[in-house]
Homo-oligomer: 340 residues x 2
């Protein structure tokens, strides 16, 4: 992003009728959106959220508290409007689509469903790469297309990146271990809720995968190929596409953040467009955010994914833009500015 | 509150299509609203927020970064729609009123303004009690009436408690010191932004007031009389009135929380109706919340007051109720519940 407008944006928010910096992170969002939109009157008229879905071969290793078929079932739940992300999107006026990047079934067509399937799930990355490089590239492209095709018919100024895929916290944690150099015990959490034994198993599985693949920590495509998931690849592609269109991108929990990290490694210029939606209970997310120089906006002890944390933060971005546009300055309101 | 419905509410949220507890604080809010409304289908149709305003004699001691006349100017700003809380209430569909509890001017009438003035500001509590006991009682009653009169014409299920009053972080901090037994250096912060010297002066002022008055730590009326402000008394009265009507009450920053603490000391039964809107940058707020057994829902590094943190949290309470009502259960959605 072109940051030349940033001082003017900061000056404008500083002259609003409030103590200096008193609106904390909302002020930071207001400045960031001014920079992204190259305007001191940033505006978010239209919001969209994608839930990218895919299955994971690594579930064979017993890394999840839920059976693999829950990916399909939850996609059906999204399409029926009954999941948390449906409720959240209705609450905040956010358009929602589900993108099938690699779910292990064939869905019948549905208005909310975008078919971008590359394969019916990844391979088990503890024994072979999760996908081929061709598949990884196709998945990135498909994710980008999902965003661009939607943007062509109904443009949005902000997009949230959600995901669904049983087993995908293992993929995300493996990627974050590889990039950050942290050990699996520092990064791997309970995901949807594995017990102590499950957590130990999950850490061993990731250690084994890292020993097998020895991925270079700064090669996004290689990380995706060896350890990724199709929904992570879809998000990475959509992030790059959205940033290229000047759209603010809101990440969600550890999986969405790991996918954002892949996008960042492939194309560091996306950084200025990224907002870290929420702080996940999963400890590895912090390491990924730190690597990108991002700080999570909210912390509500969420560990759901789907885009739920992103949805709440998208509303706060909207609030921040509105504050920038509508709030009076000391001069406009005839208020003494004090000794600040 | 009658907590007998709580296990059923918890059971209902646990059967929703998500890992156990994965929506963190939103789940806690859903359960709390079920208890308050005695219903497993809690609903927030109508939201209201009051900004209680008053002036403070203690500003003579140089405790604020802003001159006293800013209280009047900011009330005018609220009435003109230009302050942060106006923007926030528009964003979240929250009805707004400003209650003049004790501002040092005579306002002309305005549709948003409720006149409940007891006196044109408190006395300087470093040399005498901030108000008489009769004034404190009148202010509590006036605050209750402000809520009840509004509730009679347009009932709400949730109410936010905001405030405006140059000097009122000193009043709030003094009350919190007295109740918690913590020292002024542990409780007193920079308010709207005093510098190091101002902070030192503010702490000395509060130490002096505490030595002069020696208030008992559990007598809400005495604390209010000796150290309070009219807007704090108004909030205390409104909190008690709202809880008595089964309305959820959302507190805001350190001042709103200190006023909630006064209400809690006078009538501990309000506790179950209280939601701690946001975590303030002011360290003393934590002590007040802890005393009431509350945890702040959001932390956005705010230190503005006006009800801005409460407004955001009122929306999250709405979201929580909607999640309780609309989200599908594992059985309804045909999703396997896993080994949770």
């Amino acid at each position: 992003v072109d940051r030349r407008i940033e001082p003017a944006a900061r000056y404008k928010i500083d002259l609003k009728t409030k103590p200096l910096g008193a609106l904390g992170r909302v002020e930071e969002l207001a400045v960031q959106l001014s920079v992204i939109q190259q305007s001191l009157m940033p505006q978010v008229d239209s919001k969209h959220l994608f839930v990218f879905a895919g299955d994971h071969g690594v579930v064979d290793e017993g890394v999840s508290a839920f059976p693999a078929k829950v990916t399909v079932q939850m996609v059906e739940n999204f399409l029926a409007g009954g999941a948390a992300i449906n409720v959240f999107c209705r609450q905040y006026g956010i358009g929602l689509n589900v993108v099938d990047m690699g779910v292990n079934t064939t869905f019948t067509s549905h208005p909310l469903l975008i078919d971008k399937k590359v394969a019916p799930g990844t391979a088990n990355f503890t024994v072979q790469p999760a996908m081929t490089q061709e598949q990884a590239l196709a998945a990135i492209e498909n994710g980008a297309r999902a965003f661009l095709e939607k943007q062509a018919v109904s443009p949005c100024q902000i997009v949230g990146m959600g995901e669904m895929g049983i087993g995908n916290t293992s993929s995300a944690a493996a990627i974050i271990c590889a990039v950050s150099g942290l050990s699996s015990s520092q990064v791997v959490g309970r995901g949807t809720g594995v017990d102590d034994e499950g957590l130990k198993r999950k850490r061993e599985v990731i250690d084994r995968a890292l020993r097998l693949h020895r991925p270079s920590p700064d090669n996004g495509l290689e990380l995706l190929t060896k350890l990724g998931g199709y929904e992570l690849a879809g998000i990475a592609g959509a992030v790059i596409a959205a940033a290229s269109k000047g759209c603010c991108v809101v990440l969600d929990g550890i999986i969405s953040t790991a996918a954002g990290l892949i996008a960042y490694l492939i194309c560091p210029a996306v950084q200025g467009y990224l907002v870290a939606g929420h702080r996940s209970v999963e400890q590895g997310q912090q390491a990924a955010l730190k690597h990108m120089g991002l700080t999570a906006i909210i912390d509500l002890d969420f560990r759901l994914g789907e885009g739920t944390g992103a949805a709440i933060t998208m509303n706060l971005v909207d609030l921040a833009c509105r504050t920038m546009r509508e709030m009076a300055s000391f001069e406009e309101a005839g208020v003494d500015s004090g000794n600040i």
